[in-house]
């Protein structure tokens, strides 16, 4: 093989190619560059991006390009340096990006009629665990240390219950704290009995098999977490921004709803209410992530 191209380099090449096309043309053409965060299968995301950007191009009236970044940090970096105009983003990374580079919230995802969701602490029904206090000295799996519903919000319930003093004191309360790498991994670890509890999104039990779903329950639910968003870099042309928002809101129309599966599969979008993210800003401060 003359050149070893693996998934990572392929992604970077896709990204670089989008940027190398976009950057020189940006000076002469108006276009929108969208940054996407990979899910489990980056290759599928590339196909989805092609489908949705094609539709957005016709709806917005300017060429819309998409590229995949390795993570949220890279997407925010792309917004900062102008390689991306718009990005899909979790609530926590958004409030950090807002503070760091002045990112602007445009749209929030809607699930089951609400632009918010919750985090829960799940346990096996036969575990005998009925309260947060029962988890003292027990092992727990969270999704990821910067996950809102898969760590920050569920852990805050332990603070609220007076069981731990603050986020940094979690290790003293639990036997072990694992970060499993995602909701599904955390839930599986709990369902299989590797750990006693899992902290994950309120919908995370749907990732288990039907039999496992019947075997698990939850013991506490966090306060509502504003849903994931679509954000823009500061200084993006206001007219272009509005046209993009209008196009995205047209995805709510019955004839366009199928296209939502190209975009992480929400039930729809609403215009973002920045104030709705105050709770996330407070949470980020409590965890020392935001000044």
């Amino acid at each position: 093989m003359a050149m070893h191209v693996n998934r990572r380099t392929a992604l970077l090449l896709a990204s670089a190619s989008a940027m190398s096309l976009a950057t020189p043309l940006a000076a002469q053409d108006v276009r929108l560059r969208l940054a996407f965060i990979p899910q489990e299968n980056p290759e599928k995301l590339l196909g989805d991006i092609e489908a949705i950007t094609g539709w957005l191009t016709s709806e917005v009236g300017v060429p819309v390009e998409g590229f995949v970044t390795i993570d949220h940090a890279a997407a925010v970096e792309a917004l900062r340096n102008g390689d991306a105009d718009i990005s899909f983003m979790g609530a926590l990374p958004f409030v950090l990006a807002e503070a760091e580079i002045g990112a602007v919230p445009l749209l929030s995802e809607v699930y089951r009629d609400a632009p918010s969701y919750t985090g829960r602490i799940f346990v096996r029904r036969d575990s005998g665990i009925g309260s947060l206090a029962d988890l003292r000295g027990r092992n727990i799996a969270f999704a990821d240390p910067i996950s809102e519903s898969g760590y920050l919000y569920p852990l805050a319930e332990f603070v609220k219950a007076g069981l731990i003093e603050g986020p940094t004191a979690a290790d003293a309360f639990f036997g072990r704290v694992f970060f499993a790498g995602g909701y599904q991994q955390a839930m599986q670890a709990m369902a299989e009995g590797l750990v006693d509890a899992a902290g994950a999104s309120q919908y995370a039990d749907l990732l288990l098999t039907p039999r496992q779903q019947a075997e698990v329950t939850w013991i506490v639910e966090s306060e509502p977490i504003p849903s994931h968003l679509v954000i823009a870099r500061p200084g993006l042309d206001a007219g272009l921004q509005d046209r993009f928002i209008d196009a995205m809101l047209r995805l709510n129309a019955p004839e366009n709803r199928k296209k939502l599966r190209y975009l992480y599969g929400p039930d729809g979008y609403v215009r973002s209410d920045s104030a709705a993210y105050d709770g996330v800003r407070d949470m980020a401060r409590r965890y020392g992530l935001l000044e």
Partner: protein, 626 residues
């Protein structure tokens, strides 16, 4: 967070396990397989078929499995993602050396796990390390059920090692916030647990000969213990219900008779949805009559690699379901509709069974390896299936003539349908598809649609199929070789030299589409009238037969019912849109399971108390059962 947008959750009602598990007839959508892991699982599955489909095994590595999220096959994927050479594997496939294929494919997956683990520990940042860990773990999934079955304690240790490994990769944080560095020592220790086991069991030079290909670890094989890995379907399988769901037309129901007042029919309805009447693997995979015959019709999406040549087709006498009934011929059949079953005998594509009862027993016992059904079970199944009616079609009179509401083209086509042709032996289409006899003649004819199995074979006669409802059962012919009704018309025109003009073919097609149409072919669902609501009503109706069985102290049939319905009710709850009511449905399912437990214990008073509680709770939940 990064990978776990809420959308991922809702879009992927998924299991990380292989497609196996409870005998409930509610399949769980699988997490997609990585290309090489998917090819490996397909290899294990296909490698156990007899005769072994070597072409399919090669295809498994060269092309993406059916429904894969990856656009390229495993070999191309490996070329792009890995430095591992698949030449030895291809060589083994070329030489049709089953043991060598198993060995090479197993080592390849093991090497890929090691390759990704090497990348994880060498990664300079948490994001790349976690990506490599995730990939390694997805590859490990190809072995996971074998390890869990053979050595559950080891599986648990390795499960914890994966948790340790991922946790110790650190966190990239966001924009400098929340950054934690990797714990290299812990990573190395966790990796040693995983790699040590892989090296000992899957990365070895000489594997012991395998009677059955599976992901069981080598040490378990060498131990000589009898270990049975729960059956699973390979990547690319699809046993989900058709969407949209066909409408079920039951004769008694249309007359306003409640199924709960027909306990024999209701019990037969339950058996039709029960995987328990089959043997393994069908039973363990949750396959029931209704899996193929959705709501008395067909399941156009059903596909099992090695047993299906295309969606909606299945070879029920192949190697997979009941080896003793394996006819060693690859002859999958397009799944036939059971609508109007009492009018469509004899049964089987070639009409080989005059009796529906005999045909049904053959399906249960021979095709799917079930235990001999009791006379009561047979009576119930037949009683239920005899209620299947054709779909109402307002464009047809009861004697099969078109009504005025039929399109003009169909009216013209009706005349062609009734015209004798020399190519049809001076008969018309209507000679066999008799309009006043539900468009069939209950006879078998050789129309030349079956390729002779051997020289001089006279084995091509097939039972005339009805044309009613056929607008929704594509493809056509016994092997599903014709994709549309227009293709069927073309086939007859060409092979029987009918000499139809293009306009006549169009009109005849319009006629077939009109005859095959229905006023309401599919179930209509909305926010509260959901598929789960339908399932809930069905399952509680099934359970109503306990009213008949409990006084008779009919242990066997009560347990068959409670085992089926309690598991299905619990599994179906995972499809509810009213998530808040799920715990109530789980509790209801437990009540029914308690009836079964009490009957097993011979405690009839407790059984009656649990049954009474079930009925009360079912009534209170009904309004929220969506």
């Amino acid at each position: 967070m990064i990978r776990n947008f809420l959308g991922v959750l809702l879009a992927t009602l998924a299991s990380v396990l292989v497609l196996s598990g409870p005998a409930a007839a509610t399949p769980a959508k699988e997490t997609p397989w990585l290309p090489e892991a998917g090819a490996y699982r397909l290899t294990l599955f296909l490698g156990n078929l007899e005769p072994l489909p070597w072409d399919d095994i090669e295809t498994a590595w060269r092309e993406p499995y059916r429904g894969s999220e990856f656009s390229i096959g495993a070999l191309a994927w490996l070329d792009r993602e890995s430095d591992i050479d698949a030449a030895q594997l291809l060589n083994a496939i070329t030489h049709e050396d089953r043991q060598a294929v198993f060995a090479e494919a197993t080592r390849l997956i093991a090497l890929r796990i090691e390759e990704e683990l090497n990348r994880a520990v060498a990664a300079e940042d948490p994001a790349h390390a976690q990506q490599a860990v995730r990939t390694a773990r997805e590859l490990y999934r190809a072995f996971a059920d074998g390890i869990a079955t053979a050595e559950p304690d080891v599986a648990r240790q390795i499960g914890l090692a994966w948790l340790e490994l991922n946790s110790s990769t650190g966190s990239a944080g966001v924009l400098g916030a929340g950054v934690t560095s990797a714990d290299r020592d812990t990573m190395a220790a966790a990796r040693r647990v995983i790699s040590g086991y892989i090296a000992e069991n899957y990365l070895i030079a000489d594997f012991a000969p395998r009677q059955t290909l599976s992901a069981l670890p080598e040490t378990a094989i060498l131990s000589g213990r009898a270990i049975e890995v729960p059956p699973s379907l390979p990547p690319g399988s699809d046993i989900f219900d058709q969407d949209p769901l066909p409408r079920l037309v039951l004769n008694f129901e249309e007359q306003g008779i409640d199924e709960t007042d027909l306990p024999l029919v209701a019990y037969g309805d339950m058996l039709f949805d029960s995987a328990q009447i089959f043997g393994s693997p069908a039973r363990d995979l949750g396959l029931a009559c209704s899996t193929c015959h959705n709501r008395s019709d067909v399941n156009q999406r059903l596909f099992i690699p090695g047993a299906s040549h295309q969606p909606g087709a299945i070879d029920v006498d192949g190697a997979f379901f009941n080896p003793i009934f394996n006819d060693r011929r690859s002859d999958p059949l397009d799944i036939p509709s059971l609508r109007g079953l009492r009018f469509t005998g004899p049964y089987g594509r070639d009409g080989r069974f005059a009796s529906l009862r005999d045909f049904t027993r053959n399906v249960v016992v021979n095709e799917f390896g079930g235990a001999e059904p009791t006379p009561f079970m047979m009576d119930a199944l037949v009683a239920y299936m005899l209620e299947f009616d054709f779909l109402p079609n307002s464009m047809l009179t009861p004697d099969g003539q078109l009504t005025e509401s039929a399109p003009e083209a169909a009216q013209r086509g009706e005349a062609i349908f009734n015209t004798p042709f020399a190519g049809l032996g001076d008969r018309s289409c209507a000679s066999c598809h008799m309009p006043d006899a539900n468009f069939l003649d209950r006879q078998a004819h050789d129309i030349g649609s079956v390729a002779p199995a051997y020289e001089g074979a006279r084995a091509g006669a097939l039972d005339t199929p009805t044309l009613l409802g056929t607008a929704y059962t594509a493809p056509y012919f016994h092997d599903g070789s014709l994709p549309t009704l227009a293709a069927v018309v073309d086939w007859f025109d060409e092979t029987k030299t009918l000499g139809l003009t293009e306009a006549e073919r169009t009109d005849l097609t319009a006629y077939l589409q009109t005859v095959g149409a229905a006023d309401e072919p599919y179930e209509a669902f909305d926010a509260e009238n959901t598929a789960f609501g339908l399932a809930f009503a069905e399952l509680t109706t099934f359970a109503s037969t306990i009213d008949t069985l409990l006084p008779r102290r009919d242990v066997r049939h009560i347990l068959l019912l409670t085992d089926t319905v309690a598991a299905d009710l619990s599994a179906d709850a995972s499809t509810m849109s009213n998530l808040a009511a799920r715990p109530d449905v789980y509790a209801l399912a437990e009540k029914l399971a308690e009836v079964g437990t009490a009957v097993r214990d011979g405690d009839w008073a407790a059984a009656e108390a649990s049954w009474s509680a079930f009925q009360t709770e079912a009534d209170t939940i009904e309004a929220r059962a969506f």
